[in-house]
């Protein structure tokens, strides 16, 4: 928990092998926060992610949709260039709030 957001750190190749577990974690976390009456804000640290495929994107899409359902949202920060390109090509840079630093990403959550 950082302020009012839960933080998730992803590492390495974010593909089908990691995606399933991440998806489950995101859903549970959102429901837990919502159960505690907290806005379901999720902060995802992408600095260590070297590659993302459609399964990884799918997990994040599920995460942001779940968070929005429960009054929160999902912020990404620290995308490496290769990952940033994938987000841009698939237009997902416009679907996700993406920030450079953790500080910016945290500040951007509505109080």
């Amino acid at each position: 928990m950082i302020g009012t957001a839960s933080k998730l750190e992803l590492k390495g190749r974010f593909d089908a092998y990691q995606a399933q577990g991440t998806k489950v974690w995101l859903k549970e976390e959102v429901e837990k926060m919502s159960g505690q009456g907290i806005k379901a804000n999720i902060l995802v640290d992408m600095t260590q992610v070297t590659f993302i495929d459609s399964a990884g994107l799918s997990a994040l899409v599920v995460g942001i949709k779940k968070a929005r359902e429960h009054g929160g949202t999902l912020h990404l920060f620290g995308l490496q260039q290769a990952v940033q390109i994938i987000f841009e090509l698939s237009w997902l840079d416009k679907a996700f709030p993406i920030f450079i630093t953790e500080e910016e990403a945290t500040k951007a959550f509505n109080p």
């Binding site: 089908a16 998806k23 590659f51 495929d53 459609s54 399964a55 994107l57 799918s58 899409v61 599920v62 949709k65 390109i85 994938i86 841009e88 090509l89 698939s90 237009w91 997902l92 416009k94 679907a95």
Partner: protein, 536 residues
């Protein structure tokens, strides 16, 4: 050997030969008593003649009489000798001779008694061993039948049922309980031949016993209906657990040999169970494979191998599926108002992706039928399809990237709406290939009409290639990814080929790069090349 002594044929022959010798030596009679009961007697001719004259009522008595009591009590006045025969246990045997006495005769009779006793002992030993052998042979035959029975069954339930009858007869038990559980759940108790020995308390005790790993005998129990039982756990593969409980042995308590036999059988049954389980697993796997193959065939049927001809375009489309069915698809809508084509990739793999793919494909076809606004053709189709699928995508936690493109032969304008799909490559005849980014989010991400629209002119020899990430996320043995740069270099080098040749080159390049490493993504593409209207 605490049973009634029986005069068998061999003993009788032996006594006969002894008796004949005594009669030759002048005895009136010779016999053998057990616990005071005469079980064999032979009399001399002269003695019979004497008694015949004495008592007419006893006319023509048999030469030998067997099992007559106290017939010779009248011999009190006669000379007589007897000798004890050791038969072991509590049997009290006596050889007797009437009409003779004296030390020499007594010694001879003692010797006879001693030999007779030894013979009887040996005979009894031989009988015991024979009985054991017969019992063992019966067991072996039953074991053989058991293994034959087991071999015939390749499913758990029939195997179980067929074992019950054989096992019950082998252990001479009144009843047999079977306990089967799966995944640590409470076992299901079944009783054979019926439920008469079961009640709630017994079932609870059995369920507790089911957890034990060692076979055990209980010759005393707290249960009224159960005198003794033999518990036999089977060692079967997780998540299953099975045990047999033999109840109320019909001929006395359970003994150690029963336990050993049970363990032996238990091992055999366990091995067969494992074999059956393995067989079932393989069968299920084969079934799944067959279903997957069928699903893949259906999928391939949905993807036309020959695209429709569209004026001004050289078109080629193909999908090379990975090991399982996937979510890649393409579809051509060649009719009014403008010819359109769609390529999409549903996230995830396997049956869920394939099912969603067919739905999505249909929703694009429906959307293309109802939208005719040429200004907004591809965004309208995209938004319609997106809207109709959003709920389904959310429910199954998936999304899809897709691109719909429309070509107007009059203006040679190719317009497209790209919902998060990549790579889309444009290569003008005189320039270098470039990746065209998406102009809208993937389908199922946002619940709004947000499809964008871009257009370009596709002159003869200009290239427009849509493929799936199976052409980018391909890994070689060194763990390197093929990537966008290699893909663009490749397209640049093969741009002068026809659409089909370009596709073939692209498949070959990927194949070569991966070095035969199995890929888990479908590889699907549509290659579009502008051609002169007249030449197509």
């Amino acid at each position: 050997m605490n049973q009634t002594w029986v005069l068998n044929r061999k003993t009788k022959v032996y006594l006969e030969s002894l008796g004949e010798n005594w009669l030759k030596a002048g005895a009136d009679s010779f016999g053998f008593r057990i616990n005071g009961r005469t079980v064999y007697c032979i009399r001399s001719e002269s003695y019979r003649e004497r008694t015949l004259t004495k008592s007419p009522q006893e006319a023509a008595p048999p030469q030998q009489s067997i099992g007559l009591n106290n017939e010779f009590s009248q011999v009190a006045e006669m000379q007589s000798i007897s000798a004890r025969v050791r038969l072991g246990d509590s049997q009290n045997g006596t050889l007797f001779v009437d009409g003779l006495d004296g030390l020499a005769h007594q010694q001879r009779l003692d010797l006879d008694a001693s030999f007779f006793g030894d013979t009887q002992q040996l005979q009894s030993d031989v009988d015991t061993i024979s009985a054991e052998l017969v019992e063992k042979q019966d067991q072996l035959v039953t074991l053989y039948q058991l293994s034959q029975t087991m071999r015939r069954h390749l499913e758990i339930q029939p195997l179980f049922s067929s074992l019950i009858v054989t096992l019950q007869s082998l252990f001479h038990s009144q009843g047999l309980f079977t306990l089967v559980s799966s995944g640590g759940l409470s076992p299901i108790v079944s009783a054979y031949p019926d439920n008469s020995l079961l009640d709630g308390n017994i079932i609870r005790a059995l369920q507790e016993m089911h957890q034990e790993k060692e076979s055990t005998i209980f010759n005393e129990t707290d249960f009224e209906k159960i005198e003794n039982l033999l518990f036999l756990p089977l060692h079967v593969k997780d998540p299953f657990q099975a045990s047999f409980v033999f109840v109320n042995k019909l001929d006395g308590p359970f003994v150690t040999p029963d336990l050993k036999l049970a363990q032996l059988i238990g091992e055999q049954i366990s091995a067969q169970f494992e074999y059956v389980q393995l067989h079932q697993e393989l069968l299920n796997k084969a079934k799944l494979q067959a279903e997957a193959d069928m699903a893949r065939n259906v999928q391939m049927q949905l993807l036309p191998t020959t695209p429709p001809s569209i004026a001004g375009l050289d078109l080629f489309a193909q999908s090379k599926p990975a090991s399982q069915v996937g979510g890649d698809f393409y579809v051509f809508m060649p009719d009014a108002p403008l010819p359109q084509f769609v390529l999409g990739d549903v996230s995830g793999k396997g049956m869920p992706a394939a099912l969603l793919m067919t739905m999505l494909r249909s929703s694009f076809q429906s959307a293309a039928r109802v939208n005719h606004n040429l200004e907004q053709l591809t965004p309208d189709v995209m938004n319609d399809a997106s809207r109709s699928m959003y709920g389904d995508f959310t429910a199954v936690e998936m999304f899809a990237t897709a691109i719909v493109a429309a070509f107007d032969i009059e203006t040679r304008e190719l317009s497209y709406s790209n919902a998060g799909h990549s790579p889309v490559i444009y290569c003008p005849a005189g320039g270098e290939p470039e990746i065209l980014p998406a102009n809208g989010p993937a389908m199922g991400v946002v619940d709004m009409d947000v499809a964008g629209q871009n257009s370009l002119t596709l002159q003869p020899d200009d290239l427009f290639i849509i493929c799936t990430d199976g052409f980018v996320e391909v890994w070689n043995e060194d763990g390197e990814m093929y990537g966008y740069d290699r893909l663009l270099d490749l397209v640049s080098s093969i741009r002068h080929y026809s659409a089909m040749e370009i596709a073939i080159e692209m498949y070959m390049a990927i194949e070569e790069f991966s070095g035969g490493t199995e890929q888990d993504d479908d590889q699907t593409l549509i290659v579009t090349k502008g051609v002169d209207h007249e030449s197509k």
